[in-house]
Amino acid sequence: MFLTLVRRDLTLIARSPALWMPVMFFVLVAALFPFAVGPDARLLGRIAPGVVWVAALLAALLPVETLVAPDLEDGTLDQLASRGIAMELVAAARIVAHWLGFALPLLAALPVAAVLVGMDSATGWRLALALLLGTPALAALAVVAAALTAGLRGGGALAGLIILPLALPILIFGVAAATPGALKLLAAASLVSVAIAPFAAAAAMRQD
């Protein structure tokens, strides 16, 4: 059941014309920063992890309007609920599919982004590990915000306002991932977000 739902969500993501948008966006933001702050390699190297994390957060937010709203409008959630399928399961499947759809391409594009912001390879590897731990939380928060704002006009902008404060712990520990302690805190914060998100999203999706 769960795998059927995940596979379905992945198929829909793969057919979407916006499939490559988050990763393109991620690379473009990384490319933009050297132009904005100038070619000072030391400065760039220092802010690089922060730049990558902000870019990843915005990339996770990009498809937020397509995560839940279409299913609410076209009756898909009704069909699932009338079959007695728990909305928590639907939300969890959506989180997994969204993570696979945006975070994996993003990790693949990380070397490109790392070169663009002048990151050395040791930092790059640590950042990759931090992204691997932290992006599930970004996907989970995006699905929660999508569920909360589905059916509202301007839902996407509102979703951004909901996610950004909640994503702060992930961002703080993610950028500080150079120290092992921060990595553990990042994993903990990520785990909490992923564990709570299906229930929060389901509560919002069960509106009548």
Partner: protein
């Protein structure tokens, strides 16, 4: 209310009759209906009639478990197959993929070919859903209900957008469902080809 504990084959165990007692529905500040009681036996069908906004769709949503009633109780009815106004077909998916996906969730894969033939959508399986007409989408939604193997069909104006031939297909599918012990509750305006339905006037 567990809605679909397991997809039972219709012939194996006849479903419990659908029994509704003292049901009330509130939407916002408005009380749509209250004190609603009725019973639908296996093989029987119920027409929900009444003007727009009288609560026909809300009653169907309550019976499908999509909406919490403001009061009263619902018992029996077996597993539900619901078709509302929105048919839940994704524009970029082919119709065959859509029906197969739902059949997989319903564990109704062996029922799907017959259901597609009964609603005459078998020739459309390679068509992306965005290219389907509203009548074809409707037929696909009905085929999904058929393929679900559900005991109780909850249909919201099932003939809306159907041509005469398709309406006749629906009528014979509903007759076959009832002959097998299935139940139907449908919101209708006029006749949808159900033989000897019970009628419930709302509003």
């Amino acid at each position: 209310m567990t809605l679909r504990p397991h997809i039972a084959s219709l012939a194996a165990v006849p479903p419990e009759p659908l029994t509704v007692a003292d049901l009330a529905c509130r939407r916002g500040d408005r009380l749509l209906f209250q004190g609603l009681s009725f019973r639908v036996d296996p093989g029987a069908a119920l027409h929900l009639e009444g003007p727009n906004g009288s609560g026909k769709s809300s009653l169907l949503r309550i019976l499908a478990g999509l909406l919490a009633p403001a009061g009263g109780s619902i018992a029996g009815g077996g597993s539900r197959g619901f078709l509302g106004h929105d048919v839940a077909l994704k524009p970029r998916m082919k119709l065959g993929e859509e029906l197969a996906h739902w059949a997989r969730l319903d564990d109704g894969r062996q029922l799907l070919p017959a259901a597609m033939a009964a609603m005459n959508v078998a020739a459309l399986i390679d068509v992306p859903c965005k290219h389907l007409s509203s009548g074809q989408r409707r037929r696909a939604g009905l085929a999904r209900v058929l393929a679900s193997g559900a005991d109780l069909w909850l249909l919201d104006e099932p003939t809306a957008g159907l041509d005469t031939a398709s309406a006749a297909l629906l009528a014979s599918a509903m007759a076959a469902h009832r002959a097998g012990g299935g139940m139907i509750v449908a919101a209708v305006h006029g006749d949808i080809g159900l033989a000897a339905p019970q009628r419930l006037q709302l509003g």
